[in-house]
Symmetry: D2
Subunit: 347 residues, 4 copies
């Protein structure tokens, strides 16, 4: 099969680098264009990007000349994956969709648009029906699909099986979020050694809003977000009220057995087990568990009764993989599998 | 005034070192005996203790020969402050109380004893009435008083004014606890760099149990405890359900105006403001706020509505000062001010 | 005595904050003007500065309106202390000196000027003779004096007694430097957790150049500078070649006995012992020893024979105190004691 | 080819875990026995080992019952790889060698034995001649071979090409060593956050002694060793005196072109390039470069003139891979390739 030609927007940023990493050697996708701002455009990728993922960028893109994020620069692509920040994505992504490009975005700019799916393939693949209504409105093959905020993704995955099995009424969640979630321009070392920043702009609102949209239910969520001195892996402590009494063992079984909506589709980076349940008293831990399932599984542990609600537990999700670039690529895989991509004419 | 003669139990441990630090130069108390295990007994304090608080131990105790934690070794004291671990304190502290010594303890060994006050002076000074019933039972001047667990102290202080003003029904709290809370034998660096340990043995149960005892109300508490790579300062994210609707401004006013039960007693280390309320969106932070009020104030910030309960906020308390040695010393000060200490006969 | 009226340049930066901290309550100096860039000018200091030293700025300056770094804004000062970055200091500091102001600077902009002393009071107080030649050239009372780079200060202090006693030929030094040395805009947390940056722009050249100037001898220095994830305290591993065989005990004695050129002058912040020598095998350590002598002493440990040169040892110096703001204030104290300041006419 | 049957000594420790990780799926070696102390013996490996390398132990060893480190327990092995600590290895490893087993050790216990090679395959493969003299003395097929201390390995690899090309007279080296170098029982988090420990017992002596033995030349080395808060990757700053003037470019060429003594042997884990030279001003960095060459390459950067000696540079080596388990496995591969292993009779 000929691979789909992919453009990466914001290719020099942290999400962009993770997108490059995950597409290098991907069986369905080939990097066609690396696009970024005019600070980077015109320079070879290895010079334009301050590569922070270890060693060097993949050999095949080191010399690739970075281009701009315009429809013209991306005209040779079948789809684009976007690691742009929300402020820039707000105008740029719709322009590309109007130009006929499927935009699989990681940004928050369009997540509140009722026509834009906030997609977690295992959880709400059915929301892809929105793509057709977007296309009808735009009058072309382009559209926008996003993945959730990095701290929402893990929560949505862990709550989905509980919601399906038992019904969730409300939950309180406290996050311990890694520095990579803030991108290359995140907090200074001086503010993060021996410290916690108990505030991430807009994060709590995103979690509260996106979870309800993904699960399609008016679940009340109270989120407390913290930035802590870890590199990768968002840990979340969750107290959840279910519609009936549920034992930890029942909940663990529901989580373990969860296959999600994409089992059997053969998506290349879908994890074998979307949720890994651990029995040790002190797991998950960011350094030990963030790479479960190649960084695409959510790890849940310490499932126990909650004195205030029904149950409580801890979850861990790799924010930069499952919560960002990995989620974006998985969304692209689902679109390909569902026939929502098209070969665009070659120049 | 002649100063009270104090013995410190577990003087070489981390809480013991903090007790030494806080008693050096104290206007009411003089260190009479430094007591520890037989590994340390017989050696000068500066050799026996691996001093981790910076520079050297206070000059006046460097050469003090460490003794054992027996009634005989402590017979020259008017009271003892205990930094012993629970396992050792379980037998040792009652033995000293039976020998006539007031024991102001930091350990958890006796906190569930209904006759032992879990004392936070500003909050439940009235619980000192239990001292007389202990004395009656023991038939002598000795007794045991404890401070709460280090993660409970800050929570109790922050919730007390809200409980008094508005009534608390239940709360969910997630802690981000510093390494010093685990003492000198806490987690390894290998387990704490770029990591979180989402489990502290017995900690959640202590918080849930002690808070109700201190506030004298059956408040349901769901605690999620995490050890993170900070040195000092426990940060806690709290969602609380009150008996009526309360605005953030009302809650902030109640916290700011809280003086506590010991205002006016002139206790030397009581903070001017038990609770410091901050308005910045990103405070409190452990490194910036743990030393508020000389480490004795609790800092509260981010008071805001809670989508699930009534209000939510963040609090920070210096675990090794307010939550341990500082709390122990403040309890001793309160006992002195209330006339519950006695000069014991000199040999 | 009426206190000298001081202006602080770059008052909102990290060195500026440390200057404010050290001048609050200073017996000889009073803060008259807080000056910074036009981003801050016109705003109260507590709003203009993102205060990172814990709690809040000293009460007396919280409401002080920040001004610009112009001769007019600073006309009511007897002297200025500068925490400006080199790029800005290059033009600004000479302008102020020409306007008649003594400028005690922390910046590197003028350290290579042969008429500007790079001053460590205990080591080269005699270099103050240069002040008169500056004044003669400028034709007024103004002049510039600087302290060394933060990593040079500790080295110069530790090597001075060895140079005086035994003669130093050359040395190799590797530094492990704290994040605060890079100021508020230093490395990101993402680049400093579980990492070392083995490069600090211009730092090695500064050390090599400034040491020779301070000691007044053509000592060859090879410096290796590293930024590591500590907050405060530069640690340096030194191998030194002396002009004759010297035992560790001889060297330790020379360091311990060193009083420096300012002993007896009664400078308020001069440490009792410029150099603290420790005998433990694993000291100095940044967190334990950086506050020795109120942050103004250099701690030296592990003095031992060197298989390649004569001796090797480890030193630690508080970069933000002794190596920056504290050194600047000590220089100002020395200037005052030497009669090199003058009351300027009041408007 | 039938794979060699390998026993791992100290299999539950940190080096042991790395040995397990590297042998899982190895083309030449199969894990036959996992051996440890009597605390672990009799328990399945997944229970006996506190696995700290992420996720879970490899599936094939999770249920393997741990055995003791006796000749009987290991009688079914063709060779043993040892991650034992020196104190235990001192007696145990010779006993196994006398029982006929080749012991490829990571411990320091026998490195000073003149008959035991301290082996870095690319550098001193010729030292394997000592195996025969050991065998002659022991009268059987057993022998001991070790790899160097983790901080020596990187230094030996980086200096070997310079020594061959230009001759090394002496060097000064300062290390910034990761926490994993101290094993599972290394420094506490409380001692490593915001701190450096400038002392590692015996480390400097090992570096100074082992380097000379490996290079077979009486090179004077002055080592300064520091434990810093990184997880993996020892960084070393080196000043070196060569026998003649050498430019950085010449040195870089010698390092880049170095193939080592094992090129062409097809050793499965030998890195393509033993030494990676980087040109960026701020590399190598532990987090970015420790996995170069699968953790088996040493990365060298910042090659520049030295004001005191000839050249200076920074090197980085993965202490737990190249400097420990990876080095041990590579040594075993070399022994296999050289025909120094033998199939032992099956029970």
């Amino acid at each position: 099969m000929e691979r789909w030609r992919v453009g990466i927007l914001g290719a020099t940023g942290l999400v962009g680098q993770r997108l490059v990493e995950r597409l290098a050697g991907h069986p369905w996708f080939a990097i066609e264009v690396l696009a970024a701002s005019d600070r980077s455009a015109g320079r070879p990728y290895a010079k334009a990007a301050r590569w922070v993922l270890g060693d060097d960028p993949p050999a095949e893109v080191r010399g690739t000349v970075v281009r701009l994020c315009t429809p013209e620069d991306l005209s040779g692509c079948d789809l684009v994956l976007s690691g742009l920040e929300a402020g820039i994505a707000a105008d740029l992504e719709p322009a590309l969709a109007r130009a006929g490009l499927p935009v699989i975005s990681n940004s928050s700019a369009h997540r509140t648009d009722p026509e834009v799916p906030v997609l977690v393939p295992e959880v709400n693949a059915a929301h892809l029906a929105l793509v057709e209504s977007q296309r009808a409105r735009l009058g072309g093959p382009g559209f926008i699909v996003t993945n959730p905020n990095c701290s929402t993704t893990g929560l949505a995955l862990a709550l989905a099986p509980l919601h399906r099995a038992f019904g969730i009424r409300r939950c309180v969640v406290a996050t311990l979020q890694a520095l990579s979630g803030a991108g290359l321009e995140g907090p200074r070392g001086l503010d993060t050694v021996d410290n916690v920043i108990p505030f991430i702009l807009g994060e709590e609102e995103k979690m509260e809003r996106e979870l309800a949209k993904i699960l399609g239910a008016p679940i009340a969520v109270s989120a407390h977000c913290h930035r802590i001195p870890t590199l990768d892996g968002h840990l979340e402590a969750v107290s959840v009220e279910l519609e009936r009494a549920v034992s930890p063992a029942e909940a663990a079984a529901a989580l373990r057995e969860f296959e999600g909506d994409v089992a059997g589709l053969g998506l290349p980076t879908a994890p074998v087990r979307p949720i890994v349940v651990r029995d040790e008293p002190d797991r998950p831990q960011p350094r030990l568990d963030r790479n479960a399932g190649g960084g695409m599984s959510v790890t849940v542990g310490r499932i126990r009764p909650c004195p205030v609600f029904t149950l409580r537990f801890v979850l861990l999700s790799h924010n930069a993989v499952r919560g960002a670039a990995g989620g974006t690529v998985l969304n692209a895989e689902l679109l390909a599998a569902r026939g929502l991509l098209a070969r665009r004419g070659r120049a």
